[in-house]
């Protein structure tokens, strides 16, 4: 017989749409509208889990995300997802779910033997043990404990699901659609405010849904109204999991059966009405964790909303009399016999049953003991406000008996209403929702804060149902008992934060929703203080665990970060370039011809540049345009070298220091006119140099009359380099005189190539050969490349990439960001001390004179050549006084670069060596323990090729 515990009528399930699903390989049936929890209960399945530490049988106690125990693994088209709560999984056709963390099965779990040793497994037992022998923790104990810990198994196959992120702005965000939330939402929506409504359940209604039929109509009517209003966005199955700065609320919407499995909503709200309701408090008594024990509100929900008969014979232990009456009515309507109802002064002594509750032992207030057979126990210690988001936003909470932790004081952006502030009466909650919405709209219209005049909530009358002695669970997920808490306090872990960490109370996937309030009361009892004085731990997002996929959205794989391509990218693709990711950019690395490996390609490219003609992309360099009468003065302050006599049409190399004297960046300073300069910065620092100059111009020296423009992306820049560079330059038909005398080294010319291609040409060289950097407006990159390749064909022009560029610059001893210029060097360290001007003031001058920056025993840049020219200096090696000894050795320097030089025919390296400039000619060793290599080297000046620069002036 299918669904033996399903009521024949009533409920918000659709009996015309039965669904089949499997739990632990057994087939069951449920209906559209069910959760996995309600469907299992309708089939009489209560035992769905084993607890993490003691492997006790556990059932379903709640009907929402506050359930601490019913964790299941779902297998579907997305793969295997562990740790989902049965109460939160909507039933779908073909759903396959299994229970977790037991062996060999849920029913017969070897882990249950741990209960026999439970006395040893007290709070913090692992801190007191597993220390012998030494190293045994990591080698043995840890492995075993790790296998036993953890709930479900993670699926490590790639996740085929799609995720997305959306943004939305609104006047008013309403979180929750119970009585308070729905009233607030209706008020805001009808009032014309742009309103976003989020509800974590798949239906609106909150506690309305566990009421009677007329209650359940209210949210359905409201939903229809919302869907007609254009100023309302309604998001169901959407959990607002945290509030961040300035009215930002993050929410995750679950969507099964649609393209994106989960969507994160970033909601920027001007006002937030927090109607997140309240959570029911379980009772703490011996044996309070058996399957068949449910929270009273959840019991009503299963009966009313899901039409489930939870058992045959029930006992009620419910502190609030109204809740008790409502529960009684619901169970009776479901045909469940009520064996007993506990009230004020009664004591719960224990329960019996293993995989299902069999009976309850209690003692009446008159002292009489009773033993009752039952298969359902509905418990409630009352309700506690759930104001978590209010706390995320920095709001204060205060303890109030009978209400839990309630919001205290006003918050400029967030108004808690209803259960979230401790108001558990439906009519009052509705009024609060309405009032808060009116107030919020008033504030938004009038731009003045309005004091809230909501009355302080009054705790409902509660009977006190006491607990006997014995193993009573406070946190069901982490198996934390009353004894554990007492032990922690007695051992001196008596601050609430220490209790939490020592016992792990509230640190499970339910984050203490159904345990923290009881925990506070327990701690207070043991310490002998008032719960008000105990405080509480910090409420942190997310309210309930959120799928990481939604927090990443579509920013997976290549889409994590934008890729920047240079204007020559397509042209280089056609030229067979191999590309390399570096920072934001995709660079050309080298251009292999047929069957070439990288090393062969580099050799060919380097030789081409040294002996013929090459071209390389320089577009990524930062380029900043500076105009104004104070342009030269500005630049003079920014660079450490003196170029006061620079003439229009000329350029200089510039070294820029940080304000503390350390080298920041290098580049060229080109003078176009006395009021117009163009500077370059390295690719890596293009952004930071731009911001740095802007800051100096706008904030530090606003009196200078200058204007800065970032033209980095405006220009495509291709350098042509090699002995035939001038010939090519002329072959491109510039409209300016490009002879050696008219366009010498270190100059800049504006003009046109071939009558139609605007160009700004710089005669600069990073490679050390005769070279021109041709800048054209970025959209003309293809045109320039085509012309250069066509005109350069007669000299066999060779495109080259970063790898060859690096070899060329190392041969010349030019500096590179990240290797030599690494944020720790002074100009003197780099051998550029002569550039530091003593004729002017510049940024960094004062702090550059700090004694440790001038010391002679600083590491200084040198070159290295192997004594045996056939040996290769190992990259990443260090300078030492002897070859590798296999033990500790004193390091006197480190390499920044080591390559084979095709031009010189042997390996070369650049390095920082303590007091290096005074040690040219010395012999040292470069050692690399990883490569097991030692190479004897001679220290030379860091300019291996053409140190006098003759090649630049041919």
């Amino acid at each position: 017989m299918t669904q033996p515990f399903r009521l024949g009528e009533g409920g918000m399930i659709d009996r015309t749409q039965p669904l089949s699903f499997r739990f632990n390989n057994t087939s069951y049936q449920g209906y559209v509208g069910d959760t996995v929890a309600s469907a299992l209960l309708a089939n009489g399945v209560h035992h769905v889990a084993r607890s993490i530490k003691y492997h006790r049988p556990r059932g379903i106690i709640a009907s929402g995300p506050e359930d601490p125990s019913a964790l299941l693994t779902v297998m579907d088209a997305h793969g295997t997802t562990p740790n989902l709560k049965a109460t939160e999984i909507p039933l779908r056709a073909g759903l396959e779910v299994v229970s977790q963390n037991h062996w060999p099965s849920l029913q017969r779990d070897a882990g249950a033997m741990l209960q026999a040793g439970s006395k040893l497994l007290s709070a913090g037992f692992y801190y007191k043990s597993f220390m012998w022998p030494k190293d045994a923790w990591h080698r043995y104990y840890e492995r075993i404990i790790r296998r036993m810990a953890g709930h479900g198994e993670a699926d490590i196959s790639p996740d085929p699901a799609l995720y997305d992120k959306r943004n939305i702005h609104c006047d008013i965000l309403v979180v929750g659609t119970g009585p308070a939330g729905l009233a607030a939402a209706k008020t805001a929506a009808r009032g014309g405010a742009t309103t976003v409504i989020v509800e974590q359940d798949h239906r609106l209604g909150g506690t309305y849904l566990s009421g009677d039929a007329s209650d359940r109509d209210i949210p359905q009517d409201a939903e229809q109204e919302f869907r007609t209003l254009s100023n309302v966005t309604l998001l169901a199955r959407t959990q607002a999991f945290g509030i961040y700065d300035h009215g930002t609320v993050m929410a995750v919407q679950s969507r099964s059966g649609s393209a994106a499995r989960a969507i994160m909503w970033k909601i920027r709200a001007r006002r937030i009405l927090l109607a997140s309701g309240a959570i029911e408090k379980p009772l703490v008594f011996p044996g309070n964790d058996r399957p068949g024990i449910l929270l009273a509100g959840a019991a009503r929900s299963y009966v009313r909303r899901y039409a489930v008969k939870l058992g045959n014979r029930a006992v009620l232990a419910i502190a609030c009399r109204e809740d008790r009456a409502a529960t009684r009515r619901a169970l009776q309507d479901a045909g469940i016999e009520i064996a007993a109802e506990l009230g004020d002064g009664d004591t719960l002594l224990g329960t019996t049953g293993r995989a299902r509750l069999k009976g309850v032992t209690l003692r009446r207030s008159n002292g009489q003991r009773e033993r009752l057979a039952c298969d359902l126990l509905c418990v409630s210690g009352g309700w506690s406000a759930a104001p978590h988001l209010f706390a995320h936003a920095g709001g204060n909470l205060a303890w109030r008996d009978g209400l839990g932790l309630v919001p205290q004081g006003a918050h400029p952006l967030i108004a808690p209403v209803g259960g979230a502030r401790g108001t558990f009466d439906t009519a009052t909650a509705r009024n609060e929702g309405r009032a808060a919405a009116h107030q919020a709209m008033g504030e938004l219209l009038m731009h003045v804060p309005m004091p809230s005049n909501l009355p302080s909530p009054v705790p409902p009358a509660r009977d006190v149902i006491a607990s006997g002695h014995g193993k009573a669970f406070v946190d069901l997920q982490n198996d934390v008992t009353r004894t554990d808490i007492a032990q922690a306090v007695h051992e001196g872990y008596d601050d609430i934060e220490l209790v939490k960490r020592y016992t792990t109370l509230g640190m499970g996937t339910d984050q203490g929703k159904a345990s923290w309030v009881n925990g506070i009361e327990e701690i207070a009892r043991v310490i002998g203080q008032d719960a008000t004085d105990i405080g509480h731990t910090t409420f942190r997002p997310p309210y309930s665990p959120v799928t990481i996929g939604a927090l990443v959205g579509a920013e997976t794989g290549r889409n994590m970060h934008p890729i920047r391509r240079t204007p020559f990218h397509r042209a280089f693709e056609r030229a067979n370039s191999v590309f390399q990711t570096s920072g934001d950019w995709l660079y050309s690395r080298y251009f292999p011809q047929e069957n070439e490996d990288m090393s062969t390609a580099i050799t060919r490219e380097v030789n081409a540049v040294r002996n013929g003609l090459g071209c390389v992309d320089m577009s990524t360099l930062g380029k900043i345009d500076i105009t104004g009468p104070d342009a030269l003065e500005f630049l003079s302050r920014v660079y450490c070298n003196n170029f006061a006599t620079i003439k229009p049409g000329r350029l200089r190399y510039g070294l820029m220091l940080r304000e503390d004297g350390i080298v920041f960046d290098d580049g060229t300073i080109a003078c176009l006119t006395p009021d117009h300069f163009l500077i370059t910065a390295t690719t890596a620092n293009a952004g930071s140099v731009w911001r740095h100059l802007q800051k100096l111009a706008q904030v530090e020296w606003p009196n200078l009359d200058i204007h800065l423009t970032d033209v980095t992306s405006h220009w495509a820049s291709l350098a042509i380099a090699g002995p035939y560079a001038r010939e090519l330059m002329q072959a491109l038909r510039p409209d300016f005189d490009a002879t050696r005398e008219a366009f010498p080294f270190a100059a800049v010319r504006d003009g046109t190539l071939g009558d139609d291609l605007p160009v700004r040409a710089f005669s600069v060289s990073f490679s050390g050969e005769l070279s021109y950097e041709l800048n054209v407006p970025a959209g003309y990159a293809d045109a320039l490349f085509n012309r250069v390749m066509a005109a350069g064909a007669k000299w066999n022009i060779t495109p080259y990439g970063l790898e060859s560029l690096d070899v060329l610059r190392i041969e010349k001893g030019h500096l590179s960001i990240g290797t030599e210029i690494d944020g720790r060097r002074t100009p003197f360290d780099l051998g550029l001390g002569r550039m530091v001007s003593d004729k002017k003031d510049f940024l960094g001058k004062a702090l550059l004179t700090r004694p440790a920056l001038q010391a002679p025993d600083r590491p200084q840049l040198v070159g290295l050549k192997p004594l045996d020219r056939t040996q290769a200096i190992p990259p990443g090696g260090h300078l030492t006084h002897e070859a590798l000894t296999g033990s500790v050795q004193k390091i006197c320097g480190n390499l920044t670069a080591a390559v084979h030089s095709p031009t010189l025919g042997h390996s070369i390296a650049l390095a920082f060596l303590v007091n290096g400039q005074a040690r040219v000619g010395e012999t040292l060793w470069v050692v690399s323990p990883l490569a097991e290599t030692s190479v004897e080297v001679e220290v030379v000046a860091p300019h291996f090729y053409d140190p006098d620069g003759a090649r630049l002036h041919v």
């Binding site: 709070a123 801190y127 597993f130 993670a154 997002p541 350390i662 990240g818 690399s928």
Partner: protein, 421 residues
């Protein structure tokens, strides 16, 4: 006099018989003395470790620790618990490597299971150029006697099989540096372990007792004002992380330190899926798995100054996006909790340890997000300094005056911009 019980499997069994009702308190109650030889301000890992070594290695037990909140409740309770010493610069390496040596024996020494798990720290490189720089670092470590290796892609695939190493990566991985002695330690236990032994050796530890002022006479420390009362003392150490500038202000000097927010995250607990610590370098993100099964993730700081102890959301997205690059299966798992702490960051990103302008007052500050791993070494060396009056070789580079002299220790070469470190 507090009865001090040795923790062990045997004592656990013995106490089990009496329902665990008779374990002694880890910290005995103590009354404030009118004076102490040495006062330690800050009851986090560093302060408690210093107190422990003072009392047990140097026989200074007339020592008080004042903690403004609950024991270890600052950054000791909030970090991602990673220990390693894979640093290039000598100064950065030295203290952290001493710490690794000390971590190895500390559980036994403190008789408190710190769960030191040297499961391997894997630092990913995103290009051949970066791998070459890692080679430099690994070589430096090896030459100093610390083992480190470089893994190429094949070796990395074997070491961390779940790592995604494909063409779809935004910042493809070229290899990694691995320090097998690196790993994790249970952070809470560190504070408790040091506190218990220090207290057993006679140190007075006061919780919920903030220091409110200093009594300084002619540039020398004479006493400390606390919420519980004033005490005379001639030597003290400030070790309060995010509150460093505040304490320095009280003592009348400024520090080159500003606060930044650092966040950390845990997923729901799952069965073992990652057996080492992995770090992603293209924008920071690192992952490890606790012994309870949660995956712990951390990343770069939020990049802004803050003492809110509550992070900005974009930093969360950045960290998780990078973690997902490494382990795409993370998208199915759920984030259970995220939290923050205030990291005091200095102008070169490295700590300030040693003398202050006030005679007798020492500072231990500016550890940023790198303090936890150095905990026992800082305690060990600071105790030597406080007891003997001499700055040890390992501590010398971290002096406050290095910003005036220019002897900076800037691991990443970032400069005087604390929010970027």
């Amino acid at each position: 006099m507090q009865h001090h019980t040795k923790y062990s499997g045997f004592s656990l069994a013995r106490h089990a018989l009496s329902g665990h009702r008779h374990w002694p308190r880890i910290l005995p109650d103590c009354d404030l003395r009118p004076s102490y030889d040495i006062v330690i301000i800050g009851g986090g890992g560093h302060g408690l470790a210093t107190a422990y070594y003072l009392a047990t290695k140097h026989e200074f037990s007339n020592v008080a620790v004042f903690e403004s909140g609950w024991l270890g409740g600052g950054n000791t309770a909030r970090n991602t618990a990673i220990v390693r010493s894979d640093y290039l610069l000598d100064a950065s390496f030295g203290l952290k490597h001493l710490a690794l040596d000390l971590w190895a024996d500390l559980s036994q020494e403190l008789n408190f299971n710190l769960m030191y798990s040297p499961r391997g720290y894997v630092d990913l490189a995103h290009s051949d150029g970066e791998l070459e720089q890692f080679t430099l670092r690994a070589n430096a470590m090896n030459l100093r006697g610390a083992k480190a290796d470089i893994l190429d892609l094949e070796a990395l695939k074997t070491r961390v099989p779940q790592l995604a190493l494909g063409d779809d990566d935004r910042f493809p991985i070229a290899g990694a540096l691995v320090q097998e002695r690196g790993g994790v330690v249970r952070h809470d236990a560190v504070a408790w372990g040091f506190a218990r032994k220090a207290a057993a050796a006679g140190v007075h530890i006061f919780q919920n007792c903030p220091v409110t002022g200093f009594d300084i006479r002619e540039g020398q420390l004479a006493g400390i004002q606390t919420a519980l009362g004033n005490v005379d003392c001639g030597q003290a150490m400030i070790s309060v992380a995010g509150a460093s500038a505040k304490l320095a202000n009280l003592a009348g000097f400024q520090l080159p330190v500003t606060p930044v927010n650092v966040q950390a995250f845990v997923t729901e607990p799952v069965k073992p899926v990652l057996d080492c610590v992995v770090n992603y370098n293209a924008g920071l993100s690192y992952v490890s798995q606790t012994d309870k099964g949660e995956l712990v993730l951390g990343g770069a700081t939020d990049g802004i100054h803050s003492t809110a102890r509550r992070g900005t959301f974009n930093a969360i997205e950045d960290t998780l996006a990078r973690a997902t690059q490494m382990f795409p299966f993370l998208t199915r798992l759920r984030l259970m909790r995220h939290w923050s702490g205030t990291a005091d960051m200095t102008m070169d990103g490295n700590a300030i340890v040693g003398d202050t302008p006030v005679g007798g007052l020492k500072i231990n500050a500016g550890w940023g997000y790198a303090g936890f791993k150095a905990t026992p070494a800082v305690g060990h060396e600071m105790a030597a300094l406080l007891a003997g009056g001499q700055t040890t070789d390992l501590l010398k580079p971290f002096s406050l005056d290095r910003f005036e002299t220019g002897a900076l220790i800037d691991d990443a070469g970032i400069g005087p911009y604390p929010w970027l470190h």
